[in-house]
């Protein structure tokens, strides 16, 4: 399950941020390692919502700083 989520998070991140797949490791920070600015983060979160059919409220966006955070957050939402 979480491997599937990781793969889909990677796919969306590669597409949204225009980064290479090998850069998208669990420890990578979207803003510090993958070059996302504040607008990119909003767009990325919306893409996660679309990909997984979930709702990510603004006040919870702060929990998602790294690729691993995204996987954990999304796994929790889907369970």
């Amino acid at each position: 399950m979480s491997q599937d989520i990781l793969n889909r998070v990677k796919k969306v991140t590669v597409e949204e941020l225009g980064v290479k797949e090998e850069e998208v490791v669990e420890a990578a920070s979207f803003t510090e390692d993958l070059g996302a600015d504040s607008l990119d983060v909003v767009e990325l979160v919306m893409a996660f919502e679309d990909e997984f059919g979930i709702d990510i409220p603004d006040e919870e966006v702060g929990e998602i700083k790294t690729v691993g955070d995204a996987v954990t957050y999304i796994s929790k939402k889907l369970s």
Partner: protein, 417 residues
């Protein structure tokens, strides 16, 4: 900082780039234009089945990823991507070397009549169908018309005057004219100036159809754009961009630049008459032309080529002809006039810039582009429109007209050096 150099008061064009329905790149599209090729076809950017107009002049050889980073190419509106592409080509063509001192004196003025209408339409649909939280944060930055200038300045790190003109279909000509004044008065040494437009989307096609401005010759797109022909029935919507490197004359000479020509006249006026129709006596167009001649210090007798606004609408072509006759007198009948819109359709805010670029190429090569689809003369349009076949002519001065909804009238006069 060494401060601003003393301006020469003369402004020349030293580089050019274009994205047009005939081709991308000036040396690609220009031979096609001289051959009188048609750039109009069935709409492919969307399913046009439900629309009254189902034809357009689309740019089909353009890939935004060739000009932008992948992430940006995917998100950006097409009108900005066109401007970046045309600017990149123009800078390369100019061979200008931009050091840190020049960077601060190098500006950008690339207008758009409409801005990011495709993105606007897509995001509006998302907002309606999926809710307000689904609207992209990039809608505002990539929709606003000034982002063509803003984004281009970021891509090329140009830190001089940065602004935008929005005057509907006369945008591109106004941008070039305004950039000329910015350089002339010494606020910049060089400017990227021009226009860009990408209006071929659902809402754009629907809106211009509703305005009853477009040709509905859907079964014969190749003959739909027919400026000055008796059977014309409206303009053909198009997309594209043209950007010029405009430069202070002394600066261009000092670096041994190739010079396409000098902008010597810029005139503009307002019709103060109707939101979409030109004034019935052509008065606005006449005043714009007279202002340009006054600035240029030449007479209409000296002009060897007129690039007409020539949209292929009943009113424009008739009233523009009338206005040219008023300003040129008897000389109107012996001055070649053509409308490149017969081949590339109406690129709206880019059209004046594409026309300026073609005037400079025409003077360089001594070849005037034709008005294609000219078959049936209209008694009210009785000038020499260079029908169907390009013409060889030695031209030292050319003039272009560009008019826009809102009653904007612009005339530019260019000189070969």
């Amino acid at each position: 900082m060494s401060g601003q150099p003393v301006p020469s008061g003369r402004v020349v064009v030293t580089g050019m780039g274009a994205v047009t329905p005939l081709a991308t790149g000036i040396e690609n599209f220009w031979p096609k234009m001289l051959a009188g090729e048609n750039g109009v076809g069935p709409v492919t950017h969307l399913d046009p089945t439900e629309f009254t107009t189902r034809i357009a002049a689309e740019v089909l050889d353009f890939n935004a990823e060739d000009w932008l980073e992948k992430k940006e190419a995917r998100r950006i509106d097409r009108f900005i991507a066109f401007a970046v592409a045309a600017s990149t080509m123009a800078l390369k063509d100019s061979e200008i070397v931009i050091d840190d001192e020049l960077r601060d004196q190098f500006g950008v003025l690339i207008g758009s009549g409409i801005g990011g209408l495709t993105l606007m339409g897509d995001q509006h649909r998302r907002q309606v169908l999926q809710g307000p939280s689904k609207v992209t944060p990039f809608l505002v930055p990539y929709m606003i018309p000034d982002m063509a200038s803003g984004f281009t300045s970021i891509v090329h790190d140009l830190r001089g005057p940065n602004t935008c003109v929005v005057t509907a279909c006369s945008t591109g000509a106004n941008a070039i004219g305004d950039a000329y004044h910015i350089i002339k008065r010494g606020d910049a040494v060089a400017m990227l100036a021009g226009g860009t437009e990408a209006p071929i989307n659902e809402i754009g096609l629907a809106a211009f159809s509703a305005a009853r401005a477009m040709s509905t010759r859907n079964d014969d797109p190749a003959h739909a754009s027919r400026p000055f022909d008796l059977d014309r029935d409206g303009f053909v919507i198009a997309e594209g961009s043209a950007v010029l490197v405009m430069e202070d004359y002394d600066h261009a000479i000092a670096r041994g630049a190739k010079i396409y020509g000098e902008l010597i006249g810029y005139g503009m006026s307002g019709d103060a008459f109707h939101i979409t129709q030109p004034r019935a006596d052509g008065g606005g167009a006449i005043r714009a032309m007279k202002m340009a001649f006054n600035r240029a210090g030449i007479t209409p007798e000296q002009v060897g080529y007129i690039s007409a606004h020539g949209t292929s609408t009943y009113y424009n072509d008739k009233l523009e002809t009338m206005a040219i006759k008023d300003v040129f007198g008897e000389k109107a009948y012996s001055t070649p006039v053509s409308s490149i819109k017969s081949m590339i359709g109406h690129t709206l805010g880019a059209s004046g810039a594409i026309a300026a670029l073609t005037c400079l190429l025409a003077m360089r090569d001594g070849k005037l582009p034709p008005t294609i689809n000219y078959e049936k003369p209209d008694p009210e349009c009785d000038l020499d429109y260079i029908p169907n076949v390009c013409r060889t002519a030695d031209v030292e001065y050319s003039m272009l007209n560009s008019f826009g909804f809102g009653g904007h009238n612009v005339t530019l006069i260019l000189k070969r050096l």
